[in-house]
């Protein structure tokens, strides 16, 4: 297992995936948080004192925004790692050599899962570090949000990114890299749209055939709760109650996609030209 992890980390280091993901995360977080902070100062200076007396935006909003932006950088990392890095050893000319390594095929999804956890840990660190750079590291001592709330948000995000990574990897193994990109984008927007419809009760504004709505909601509730992520974060911040339904759903889908990925390793993915 250690050998596999060493190889995985070499892969992400030498292909510069890690460096790029961390740099992108820092840039996105820094730009977002700095904008929020500047907007805060602007309100305080010009309008804030007139209308509000003080800013509405502070460290609490800052950490929420950081966790919100984390959704994009984490999804990006899941896509890159799942679509390009994970299938690398199991497709084309490399697949036969990987297939004949004397290790259980279960160790591959396990190794990729642990590696992804490591990458996400680094991504979380970048998020906190950027927050510290923008708001000052002393802000961590006086956050108006309990650390438990932040921890729950990070657990949900981590589970979501792990699940997405395996979902992307399964799709890339079955359909290839480019189709997976389009499948991913389509699924992402469909789930977001469904979440907005159901969460904000917008479905009441549109007339559907009887039964269709219940049926759609039933299916939606069983799918990976991708569209629920933003709402889950918001709920944690506004009313920190422990609703573990989506966590369980993420865990179930994580197991499902990891198992499907294991099944895709049953035989090497041979190219058509080599079917002699």
């Amino acid at each position: 297992m250690g050998t596999l992890l060493k190889q995985n980390f070499r892969h992400v280091l030498r292909t510069r995936v890690l460096l790029f993901a961390l740099a992108l995360s820092f840039f996105v977080q820094w730009a977002g948080l700095q904008s929020l902070k500047n907007f805060t100062l602007h309100l305080e200076g010009d309008l804030g004192s007139f209308f509000l007396g003080r800013s509405n935006f502070g460290e609490r909003e800052g950490i929420f925004l950081a966790l919100f932006l984390h959704l994009f950088t984490g999804t990006f990392l899941s896509a890159v790692y799942g679509i390009w890095v994970v299938p690398y050893l199991h497709q084309g000319d490399r697949s036969q050599l990987t297939f004949t390594l004397p290790i259980s095929k279960w160790k591959f999804p396990l190794g990729y899962g642990v590696t992804m956890l490591g990458l996400l840990f680094l991504l979380h660190l970048v998020m906190f570090a950027t927050f510290g750079f923008v708001f000052g590291f002393r802000a961590f001592m006086s956050l108006a949000v309990p650390w438990k709330v932040i921890a729950v948000c990070l657990v949900v995000e981590t589970l979501a990114f792990m699940t997405l990574m395996f979902a992307f990897a399964c799709s890339a193994m079955a359909f290839g890299q480019i189709p997976t990109f389009f499948i991913g984008v389509f699924s992402f927007f469909s789930l977001q749209l469904a979440a907005v419809l159901f969460r904000l009760n917008l479905e009441k504004l549109v007339e559907f055939e009887s039964g269709f709505l219940e049926w759609s909601r039933f299916i939606y509730n069983k799918l990976p709760p991708m569209g629920e992520l933003v709402f889950d974060l918001g709920t944690q911040f506004s009313n920190p109650t422990w609703n573990d339904k989506n966590i369980w759903l993420w865990l179930v889908w994580l197991s499902v996609f990891a198992s499907i990925f294991r099944l895709t390793l049953r035989y090497p993915r041979l190219t058509r030209r080599s079917e002699g």
Partner: protein, 244 residues
């Protein structure tokens, strides 16, 4: 399935979609012997090797490899395999890739280091260059080098000579001779008939997925004069008027 066979295949049929690559193939290899697989392009040599290694699921028939099912990861501890079109991970150097494979096959660290050193020297592999910067022939050397790690009981080499320079071919032949002397078993698929004749004790000739002949090299040579004549006769293209 008997224990003195490294593999046994009975009435095996391998298909890719609707196309049949191997049909009703029965073949076996005794321990300590070397089998050369000959046949024109599309004869089913590579598919037969893949079936032995569990890389494709036969539609029909039975395969036993070292007493177990094909594709069992435990068996890969004792098998060295060089595919015809195989490329190691390109972000590694040759010693790093050999070390990766060796860590799964050899538990003793000193022994591992020693074997990797020997193979790097034998196949003249660069130490620091990433595999992505290698030529096709150099990549081939890395693939071949990893097959010898951990002294496997069975070597499966699919077109091992493709892309190798003559000096390396001589070195590889010598290494295979030593391997056979140590009691190893070999399955060798190639288009180079003379090399198969030199290396293998048993020869199987395939055409369009069917086994045309399986006999000892000496028997074929005494019957046809050379392996070249035997091959030409069996695949239906007459040379010097030989027919099977």
């Amino acid at each position: 399935m008997e224990k003195n066979f490294v593999f046994q295949m009975q009435e095996v049929r391998v298909c890719y979609g609707r196309r049949s690559a191997v049909d009703s193939l029965s073949l076996s290899l005794e321990r300590g012997r070397s089998l050369g697989m000959l046949g024109p392009n599309g004869a089913g040599k590579t598919s037969t090797l893949r079936a032995i290694l569990g890389m494709v699921k036969p539609r029909r028939g039975q395969i036993s490899v070292m007493g177990g099912p094909p594709g069992d990861p435990k068996n890969f501890q004792k098998i060295g395999f060089a595919p015809e079109e195989g490329s190691p991970p390109e972000f590694l150097t040759a010693p790093e890739y050999l070390s990766l494979v060796a860590e799964f096959k050899i538990h003793d660290r000193a022994k591992r280091k020693e074997e990797i050193g020997d193979l790097v020297q034998l196949f003249e592999l660069p130490l620091d260059k990433k595999i992505r910067d290698y030529s096709k022939g150099m990549k081939r050397r890395v693939v071949l080098a990893q097959t010898f790690l951990g002294h496997p009981e069975l070597l499966v080499l699919d077109e091992p000579l493709n892309g190798l320079d003559p000096l390396l071919i001589i070195k590889l032949r010598k290494r295979l001779e030593d391997y056979m002397k140590d009691g190893g078993s070999l399955v060798f698929s190639s288009h180079i008939l003379a090399e198969v004749e030199k290396t293998c004790s048993v020869i199987a000739i395939l055409r369009e997925g069917s086994l045309l002949c399986s006999a000892s090299t000496s028997e074929l040579v005494s019957r046809f004069g050379s392996i070249e004549n035997a091959f030409a006769s069996y695949v239906g293209k007459e040379i010097n008027g030989h027919t099977p």
